[in-house]
């Protein structure tokens, strides 16, 4: 556990965050991670649905022409 | 509408579940608290107002999904919809019926259970007043939630998720009134806010409930 705190202290002193370095860092990491996750999930779902739609349209177009 | 109210009350009595269920649950929760929290009087006195209110709220929540579910299953809803009774009237009556079968008994039983939690003597009138003013709002909000989830299979859990945030203002003002009362302070402000919310619910929610019913009947 002390390894972790030493790393965090090293980063926070490097960034000049002073006493509450851990807090500021953790809030940034968590928030940005959540935003990134939201964007990633939305993008992945968009792609999946677009592909699905293309497949359905193709299948139905064949059955109409066929 | 009186006919509908009378029928619902008769059904509740006949089915036996109506009155007993809410009360039994209320009693169980109250009895369990000291086992969980410990028997010391000072602790119990401090948490009694909040616990009584939360238990009353959960007891009301328990019987919400039965409000429309029974009528939905045996087809009474479409028949009521095409009767001269406006759906808003049906919603209002269902709310009042639910209050009479669960809210009222809870309000009357609460002081008796207050002893179990060593509630401060000064708080009893406020407990009675706040529950009398607050539980009707719980029933009407619950009826609205029940109308939203009537068409959904196993809608009970969803119903509680939808209704709990709506219960927050009533719970806060209700418990606050009792707490202020037990400290001997004047609790007119929370009681006024509580009755404000209740009146507001009975003004707005029957229309929202009827709209939800109409949609679910489509």
């Amino acid at each position: 556990m002390d390894l972790f705190t030493s790393i965090v202290d090293m980063i926070s002193t490097f960034l000049g965050l002073g006493k509450y370095g851990l807090e500021v860092l953790s809030s940034y990491v968590i928030s940005l991670a959540m935003l990134a996750l939201l964007v990633w999930i939305s993008a992945r779902r968009a792609a999946k649905v677009r592909a699905e739609l293309a497949a359905v349209e193709a299948r139905l177009k064949d059955s109409n022409d066929g | 509408m009186i006919a509908l109210l009378a029928r619902d009350l008769r059904l509740a009595v006949r089915a036996g579940g109506g009155f007993g269920l809410g009360l039994a649950f209320f009693l169980i929760v109250i009895v369990l608290i000291p086992f969980g929290v410990g028997p010391e009087a000072s602790v119990l006195t401090r948490i009694a107002p909040g616990v009584l209110w939360v238990a009353a709220l959960l007891a009301a929540l328990l019987s919400l999904d039965r409000i429309f579910a029974l009528d939905h299953e045996d087809g009474s809803l479409p028949l009521l919809a095409t009767s001269p009774l406006p759906l808003e009237g049906v919603a209002l009556t269902k709310g009042v019926a639910h209050w009479l079968t669960t809210g009222l008994p809870l309000t009357l039983a609460a002081p008796a259970l207050g002893f179990l939690l060593n509630l401060a003597p000064a708080a009893y009138p406020y407990l009675l007043a706040s529950l009398a003013l607050g539980t009707p709002a719980l029933s009407m909000i619950g009826t609205f939630g029940a109308a939203l989830t009537v068409g959904i299979r196993r809608g009970g859990l969803l119903l509680s998720l939808l209704v709990l945030p709506l219960y927050v203002p009533t719970l806060i003002f209700g418990a606050e009134a009792v707490r202020l009362g037990s400290d001997g302070l004047s609790a007119t402000v929370p009681l006024a806010m509580l009755s404000g919310i209740t009146l507001f619910s009975y003004a707005l929610l029957p229309f929202a409930t009827a709209a939800a019913l109409r949609i679910n009947l489509r």
Binding site: - | A3, D71, S76, T82, P84
Partner: protein, 205 residues
């Protein structure tokens, strides 16, 4: 004209099911709807009764005279036969006609709890409800389900003698022959095909 239906299009689940349905019924007339299961009989009846709004066309009948009844007949098991009927009479603000028990052969079941009735008796109680509410325009969806021959004839007699004779109108969706000399209408020609517009899905197609 008691009930006029002009060019009604009704939808189910965002898709038009029936389109261009038109007919008119004068006082004392009945109409039997025929058609395969799922062709939209129930949807049409619910639209006519006003439970859902039609996509197009119009349905006109005297205000507050419509009543919809399906095989789920709103009978409360814990209430007795009389209580069930008197409830619906009160809701509709009408006095309880005493002959309803005899015309539906429920005389000896007056105080029996509805829960203890057989399926046939329960259906008769449901149909007796129609007699009690005294509505002129009836929309009946498969009213004779789980009824034996005798009860079906009794229902047909009630419709002919009590309801239609007093100037009532009825639209009935059923598969069996009710013995009424009412005209029949097959819904298959009104089935909405690809070109039918309307319905909420259209915006996405």
């Amino acid at each position: 004209m008691m009930l006029t239906v002009e060019n009604v299009t009704c939808a189910r689940g965002g898709m038009p099911v029936l389109s261009g349905v038109s007919f008119a019924l004068d006082a004392g007339q009945a109409l039997v709807l025929r058609g395969p299961n799922g062709c939209g009989k129930t949807t049409l009846l619910r639209t006519l009764a006003g439970l859902q709004s039609p996509l197009a066309g119009s349905v006109t009948f005297p205000e507050d005279e419509g009543a919809y009844a399906s095989h789920a007949d709103g009978i409360k098991a814990q209430l007795s036969v009389t209580e069930n009927l008197s409830f619906w009479a009160d809701v509709h603000g009408r006095p309880m006609p005493d002959d309803v028990f005899t015309s539906f052969d429920l005389d000896d079941l007056r105080d029996r709890l509805a829960g203890t009735l057989s399926a046939g008796q329960k259906r008769r109680l449901g149909l007796a409800r129609l007699g009690v509410i005294g509505r002129k325009v009836l929309f009946l969806d498969e009213p004779t389900v789980s009824l034996d021959g005798f009860s079906v004839r009794m229902f047909a007699d009630f419709l002919r003698d009590k309801h239609l004779a007093q100037g009532g109108v009825a639209v009935i969706a059923t598969h069996i022959d009710l013995g009424l000399d009412a005209p029949e209408m097959d819904l298959t020609p009104f089935k909405a095909d690809h070109t039918a517009t309307g319905g909420s899905d259209e915006a996405f197609l």
